[in-house]
Amino acid sequence: MTDNFLDYQLMTEDQQSLVDMIHEFMSKEMPQELVEKNDREGHFSMDVAKKLGEMGFYAMDVPEQYGGAGFDCVTICLIREALGYYCGGFANSFVGQSFGYKPLLLAGTEEQKMEYGQRLANGEFWATALTEPQGGSDAVNTRTKAVKDGDDYIINGNKCFVTNGGISNLYTVSAVTGETNLRGEGISLFIVERDFPGVSMGKHEDKMGIRASNTTELTLQDVRVPAKNLIGPVNTGYQTMMKMLARTRPTGCAPALGIARRAIDLAIDYSRQRITFGKPIGKHQGIQFKLADMAIRLQTARNQMIYNATLVDQGVYDTVVGSITKAYASEAAFQICVDAQQIFAGYGYSKEYPLEKLVRDARIYSIFEGPNEVQRWIIGNRLVGKIKK
Amino acid sequence: MSIFADYKNLWVFIETYKGKARSVGLELLNPGKELARQMGESMVAVILGDDNQENIAAAFAYGADEVISVEGPEFAHYNTEAYTYAMEKLVEKYKPSTMLIGATIYGRDFGPRLACRLKTGLTADCTALSIDEESGNMAWTRPAFGGNLMATILCPNTRPQIGTVRPGVFKKVEADSAHKGNVIKEAISVPQDIIKTRLVESIQEISGEIIKLEDAEIIVSGGRGLGRPENFSYVRELAEALGAAVGASRAAVDAGWIPHAHQVGQTGKTVGPKIYIACGISGAIQHLAGMGGSDCIVAINKDPEAPIFSVADYGIVGDLFEILPVMAAEIKKLKNA
């Protein structure tokens, strides 16, 4: 238990230790000067990531028996939130290190889980390449094609917005292998190695926010991939992805809550110091109400996230609960940052203060991993349910 | 106190380095004299070394009533075993009531080893010395908790009472080369088999052009407010104009902006210059512990709430990058006038 009600009060001793380790490490290894430098240059601090990984934070999504850290979902959320407190961009790339492994947990063979788990524990990065220029959530529009050729597949296509595209050794690539339909059949998932001939990275995205996170295009030109690199049976890739996403929703938005918490802490600090009309602005009700709304949003978003994560840890994977988490937490985090920026007023708009970066970083969470419109569609659809004709 | 009737005299250990007496031992002859007088006793300087002739003269010049000198090649350079052995023999023979040792690295190595061997009390790193009115014992005052708290310690039940005293707190008296006294030459030879530690080499790192902090009359110090290591140039420019030494806060040293040898503070050096100019230093207690004894403290900081202003004689609230160059220019003008 801590004495700050904004902290999550139900952490176990182990969880508290892990979160404390993140804070101790990041406050030393990623000071604000480095955060700002990485943001300006769009650079991911791989050296910092390596140290953090070697402490035991690599392969967070990989179960212990396959060589990973073996943290449960709630613990991963708490760790990711702590990372987000320091830099959303760094956090996004770091936590994405083992992201491409997750479909293996659902559909991979034991050999695959073991072999690739070990590689992640050793610090290799594994990106997920699903989105294409013309199709994101609309998976039916996938154009990357994998054509069978003997025991291999030849893959051709373009992927964009690949998180960690430029720093990964492994990619999970979705490709059309059969007749595609609205149920998402006909798509398969492949494990592609960076050094397979024909694999190349495109430009690094010049993003509005999370600029310290590495994001590139991926081009596959006649890339020969052995059939053993399929994740699960052929043509089941889309379902695997959807099932996987249902389990990753809570962890996905966790860094956003760390960004939001940083914004709140800065806003509180500022409210105590900045004096207008004869008193600290924190004594004006208007500011107090704003801060209160920010705290309400943070706590409710986190509670939803932990609830979702707890269900996942208990084996309950509900897409809709995940969509609620994603939609709510992303918008709550962004609103908190915008409100904090407003409290800073002019200084919140200046690059010499940390607020504007927090707003830019928080913005992405409503967009990626399925924009919030898609999330609302999923929720609304389920609520109304099937109507008999 | 009557049980200690056979313990008398206040001893000041004159630490030497490369044959020359360190300033601290000579500084301690100053308070030592007054304390001995109050106790109705004599002040004896004790010197261990290879050739003590010059240092004996210095001890008398700075106030010693008497000198005990032990000479031998085994004392040419500080060695825990040799010095503790010799001092134990001297204490057994002469039974001093009090001993002052400079709180240098060697002093703080030597003091506890000796005190433990003599089964007596040692008070470390003292910044004030007096006689306890009630009991007549030495009252040793020293900082604790990083300088946040002062404690006054007594050693009522054992003898000698020993204290290591911080260098730079007391000033040497005016040297009087005419002052002489009795020299007791003690022949003590340390058995080879008790020497366990060997000095392989002693490396000097501070280049000659940097004025030693402890002896400097004026010090210009830089802290976190400088922002970048390159900005120590502002500090050096002003130091040059003043003929001053360059110091630093722990924050600047920890950040790797300047070597540890320049650090002033609780875990750095204690200085007591005529003028101490703190630039971009907030004034944490640990830093004040190292320079609080300066005659005149000047602080330049853009934060009006910085604790350094509570101890400064003169303070400027403002941007040091604009202030320091102007100060340097004004001082050069004065010097050329």
């Binding site: 182990d14 | 080893r113 433990c116 002062m150 009522p156 403290i297 609230v317």
Partner: protein, 267 residues
């Protein structure tokens, strides 16, 4: 290498504030940490263990809450930890403390049947600031000591160390076993690994009390065994009352300051 590291749990004196009204220390809410110099000592010990193998025992004299400090040490290289704790030890000065710890060393060596090769201490505790316990332990046990070391290398049956000096540094060597005290090292204390940290959380810290230390004479501990006595404590006086210059233009402030100082015949 059989290594012993002596540590102390201290309040983080960088965080201590003085109550402006009562002029006393505000200790509430000040986090307890492993004494920073002890962390450097443990780091040097861990580096030796990395290179030559061996075992690190960590020992701390303190109240039960000091177990947290011992657990932190287990997470960064310590293999076994002991808390030396007994009401009788309360009020011990450095002579008494070093006596207790030297009895503990003897006890642990008899327990394991192995002598310690190197005993590490931190240069000083940032609360007591005396820097005496290490040297006094060495004297009690009868071992050579080297204080204020910044680095250490094991060469066969001896150690070569770098000792901090005002002017630069010394290189010294001594035969093992020996006691060393450690100042700031060029190596930052390592971060714990997740595995070590979680294992340390579960570790059981063995207590050593007067019951175990049958070789110890209780009269030589606690207040009774302490030749130094605290007469009083007080907070240092603030000077206060200086001249603050804050002209509109910083350059004007600078000129005014130099004029004032020259007027006061300071420069």
């Amino acid at each position: 290498m059989n290594i012993l590291v002596c540590v102390k749990q201290v309040p983080d004196t960088m965080e201590i504030k003085i109550d402006p009204v009562t002029n006393t220390l505000i200790r509430d809410g000040v986090p307890s940490i492993v004494n920073p110099f002890d962390s450097y000592a443990l780091e040097l010990a861990a580096r030796i263990k990395d290179e030559t193998g061996g075992k690190i025992t960590v020992v701390c004299m303190g109240p039960k809450q000091a177990e947290a400090a011992l657990k932190e040490c287990l997470a960064v290289g310590g293999d076994k930890a002991y808390l030396v704790t007994d009401r009788a030890f309360g009020g011990s000065d450095t002579l008494a403390t070093s006596y207790i710890l030297s009895c503990t060393v003897q006890y642990l060596e008899e327990l394991s049947g192995e002598k310690f090769d190197i005993i590490f201490c931190g240069k000083q505790a940032i609360d007591g600031d005396t820097g005496q316990v290490g040297s006094e332990m060495a004297e009690h046990i009868g071992l050579p000591q080297i204080t204020c070391i910044q680095d250490i290398k094991v060469e066969g049956d001896k150690i070569v160390v770098r000792q901090e000096m005002d002017e630069g540094y010394n290189v010294l060597e001594t035969k093992l076993p020996a006691v060393v005290s450690v100042t700031k090292t060029p190596y930052e204390p390592r971060y714990p690994t997740v595995k070590a940290k979680l294992a340390a959380n579960r570790a059981q810290i063995t207590h050593i009390t007067t019951a175990e230390l049958t070789n110890l004479t209780v009269e030589r501990t606690g207040l009774k065994g302490s030749p130094t006595k605290v007469k009083k404590t007080f907070t240092p006086q603030r000077k206060g009352g200086g001249t603050i210059i804050q002209e509109d233009a910083p350059a004007d402030s600078a000129v005014k300051l130099v004029a004032l100082m020259s007027g006061a015949a300071l420069i």
